[in-house]
């Protein structure tokens, strides 16, 4: 019988962990929804707060592990078949809160921060190091001490752009990292922020806010 490869071990680990990852993401999503519910109820016309969640897919987890381990040639060493662990990934379970307009972002961030006080801040930054959105990594300890999770609070226009841009750019990383595409991505981010600044004064919170 052929020896099991590191990928075999990791895929087995993934499916062993999957129920736990699903419990974590359900727990995190429920907590985020619960704690943002008072904000949701005060949204005015045009204001939005959307909670998205996902469990990282198996092959995506393996690819990410290759990259965060800095394994050149993107190959696991077959002589270390059991030496890798998906638990090194910080985002097996993830929740993204999309918020519009931006003035609601701080409110959502502070509300969640008060609840997830022990989580580590790892803000999402652009190429120049400027913060695009707050992000936190931690454990839902009632559910799992092993699987780490992350949540982000993202300007909605940017988050919806990422929903299209990330899968496309992930597939073509070399192009994504080219100076030209970095420049174009920066332009999109600036234009979206500019649009939001223009429209925000006209989107009013519910009267009495």
């Amino acid at each position: 019988m052929e020896a099991r490869t590191p990928e075999d071990h990791l895929r087995e680990q993934y499916f062993d962990l999957l129920p736990e990852m699903q419990r974590v993401v359900l727990q995190l999503e429920a907590e985020v929804r619960y704690h943002t519910l008072p904000i949701l109820h005060t949204l005015g016309i045009g204001e939005q707060l959307v909670v998205d969640s996902r469990v990282k897919e198996c092959e995506s987890a393996l690819q990410k592990l290759l990259r965060i381990k800095g394994l050149e040639g993107r190959k696991f060493d077959p002589d270390c078949a059991g030496g890798y662990s998906l638990l090194d990934l910080p985002d097996l379970a993830a929740v993204r809160v999309l918020v519009f307009p931006n003035r609601r972002l701080d409110e959502v961030d502070k509300t969640l921060r008060a609840h997830f006080q022990n989580w580590t801040a790892k803000p999402l930054k652009d190429r120049k190091g400027e913060v695009l959105a707050p992000r936190y990594i931690g454990h839902c300890e009632d559910v799992s001490r092993a699987v780490r999770a992350e949540y982000q609070v993202v300007p909605m226009l940017l988050g919806l752009f990422w929903r299209v841009e990330h899968p496309a750019m992930y597939k073509f990383r070399r192009v994504a990292n080219s100076r030209e595409m970095r420049r174009r991505r920066g332009e999109v981010e600036r234009v979206l922020a500019h649009f939001e600044q223009g429209i925000e004064p006209y989107i009013l919170p519910r009267s009495g806010e």
């Binding site: 050149e72 040639g73 993107r74 002589d79 070399r174």
Partner: protein, 79 residues
Amino acid sequence: MKKSEMLFAANYRYNLDRDLFVNRQAKKAFSIEFVDDKPATAVRKRIEEATDGTEWRFYFNHPPPESVRRLLEQDLEAA
């Protein structure tokens, strides 16, 4: 000229799965980390390095262990 342009001009192709610049004829492969971290002169020197084309050469920051090297060679031969 940018480092990636130098490689493309020397008939290297970018392997998206492995993040390698590969020239199958010359049997040479550069990792993206090597290309990013080394100066253009060092990359140029390795591109121009003569080989007899019988064995693969991997230009990595950290040379791959023999077990990984074998897998990469199989992949690149089959590509």
